[in-house]
């Protein structure tokens, strides 16, 4: 069954959707959308460094994404507005990454594969990396779930309950870096943030509890991956962007459902 590239692609897409769903909810609740973007853009620099030193792209992307996230954490609140800081860092990291890739001689690198993903070329080895990464992210977030949720509601309430919100933030940052690294192959660095935010945003009007929203986001993400791949096959369109288009369509549908219904 795994011999079929479409099956491998679907499994890769589902893996990423599962990791991105609970994390994406926190990204939405904590208003970290641009933070996710910056972390994802930095990953291209990680890809360049991995290729230069011929090590695993997954490791390189995780390390650089993590460094990026920690840099933002350290620099925030030091004289620049958060959106300015993220704008500077996200685009600088992307630009440095692109320049760094151009220095790598020998192999001709298909840059498009890293910017927009190359889900149809997912190997069995990639699948192992994606599913292990997704399992790690889901395990980490499930383990810290209540503490993360409390910290997200209010930092002082977290302190009063004996939770250190700074430590929870670190767990979230780590989960984000891992998700970015596993999602590169599937949707590429430019569209990773879309996989985080769009399913979670689409799930919001359909949910009454935080857990319900995470599960709904997961289902929407998986549906988008499967339908998006099918659409890409039928219409001969790029796979990663097609998946995001389907996710965006579900967001539209759920927004319409919300507006047709009394507030609740």
């Amino acid at each position: 069954m795994l011999d079929d590239f479409m099956v491998r692609a679907a499994l890769a897409g589902i893996g990423v959707a599962i990791a991105a769903a609970p994390l994406g909810c926190f990204v939405v609740w904590r208003r970290m959308a641009y933070f996710g973007d910056a972390t994802a853009h930095a990953a291209i620099l990680g890809v360049a460094l991995s290729l230069a030193f011929s090590m695993s792209i997954f490791i390189g992307a995780v390390v650089v994404a993590l460094l990026m996230a920690l840099t933002v954490n350290v620099l925030s609140g030091r004289g620049y507005a958060m959106d300015t800081l993220l704008g500077v860092l996200a685009h600088s990291a992307l630009a440095f990454g692109l320049v760094a890739v151009s220095f790598i001689s020998g192999v001709r690198i298909d840059l498009m594969a890293y910017l927009f993903g190359d889900i149809l070329a997912v190997s069995r080895g990639d699948l192992v990396v994606i599913w292990s990464g997704a399992a790690l992210v889901v395990a980490l977030i499930s383990w810290r779930w209540s503490a993360l949720l409390t910290s997200t509601m209010n930092e002082d309430l977290a302190y009063a309950s004996g939770i250190n919100p700074k430590r929870e933030q670190l767990a979230l940052t780590l989960a984000l870096a891992i998700t970015v690294a596993v999602a590169i192959k599937v949707v590429g660095v430019l569209l990773i943030a879309a996989m985080l935010i769009i399913p979670a945003a689409a799930a919001r009007p359909l949910s009454r509890t935080p857990e319900g929203m995470a599960i709904a986001a997961g289902l929407i993400g998986m549906l988008s991956a499967i339908v998006g791949l099918r659409a890409a096959y039928v219409f001969d369109t790029p796979a990663g962007p097609s998946i995001v288009c389907i996710a965006a369509t579900t967001f539209l549908a759920s927004s319409v459902i919300k507006s047709l219904r009394p507030a609740g």
């Binding site: 209540s146 409390t150 309430l157 302190y159 009063a160 919001r204 935080p210």
Partner: protein
């Protein structure tokens, strides 16, 4: 044995000293109110007591087994986070459904457990926060300007609820309030804070203290009035200096 003892507490944010050598203690069952102008370190003091900010000097000691309930100043719940009142009260976990029901009852909002947090009015929200603070059956309740954003009726009814809670549970209360008329009628003790403890004592003693008058004016014992706020009093500041030149209006 006091519930909480604060000794020689100083708090700095970067180069800015917000609290300088503050000492105080809260005993069982008493109502203590902290008053002081904006930026006088009131919130920092409460945050130091719950451990959210590390003292740069001095320390905060809790009596053994003392439980603290904390009602924060304001809480913005993002509309994108769907959560019911009862789920919010269960966080971070290990809370029994019966305790949630009882806390909501004590806070005066027994019917809200299934409501969405983002749909509550300001007054309802404050009561839910109060319920959350009551869940652990606290010996000490910390309230940071709990009636901010409520109208006068809402605020009066909130304070009545607090009084009811104290009668029912006998817990001590340490609160920050801008509403001087409430403070003066309800507190056992008032602490006047302005980076340091300016003066403290029973409401009557504090109201007649020159330090208090310098901060809050004379006349009505601090009732609702516009007051001049000159900070021209002098007393021992140690190594701590702050700006004494502004003029402010009170609520």
């Amino acid at each position: 044995m006091s519930l909480v003892q604060v000794e020689d507490l100083s708090v700095r944010y970067g180069a800015k000293t917000v609290l300088s050598r503050v000492s105080l203690r809260i005993d069982k069952g008493e109502i203590v109110t902290i008053v002081g102008p904006n930026g006088s370190g009131k919130t920092s003091l409460l945050r130091a007591i719950i451990g959210a900010v590390k003292p740069s000097l001095g320390h905060v000691t809790q009596g053994s087994g003392v439980k603290i309930g904390y009602v924060p100043q304001k809480l913005h719940i993002d509309e994108t986070l769907p959560i019911t009142v009862s789920r919010f009260l269960k966080l971070p976990g290990g809370v029994l459904a019966a305790d949630i029901g009882q806390a909501l009852m004590q806070a005066g909002v027994p019917d809200l457990s299934k409501a969405q947090l983002s749909q509550l009015s300001g007054g309802q929200f404050q009561r839910v926060l109060l319920a959350r603070a009551l869940i652990g059956k606290p010996d000490l309740l910390l309230l940071d300007e709990a009636t901010q954003g409520l109208d006068q009726r809402g605020s009066a009814s909130f304070y009545q609820q607090i009084e009811q809670v104290r009668q029912d549970t006998g817990c001590a209360i340490l609160m920050i309030s801008h509403e001087l008329h409430v403070v003066m009628s309800a507190s056992d003790r008032v602490i006047c804070l302005n980076g340091h403890v300016c003066c403290e004592g029973t409401p009557a003693v504090v109201a007649s203290a020159p330090e208090y008058r310098a901060l809050f004016g004379t006349g009505t014992g601090g009732a609702l009035a516009l007051y001049r706020h000159d900070h021209d009093h002098g007393h021992d500041h140690g190594d701590h200096t702050h700006d004494h030149k502004h003029t402010e209006a009170a609520e």
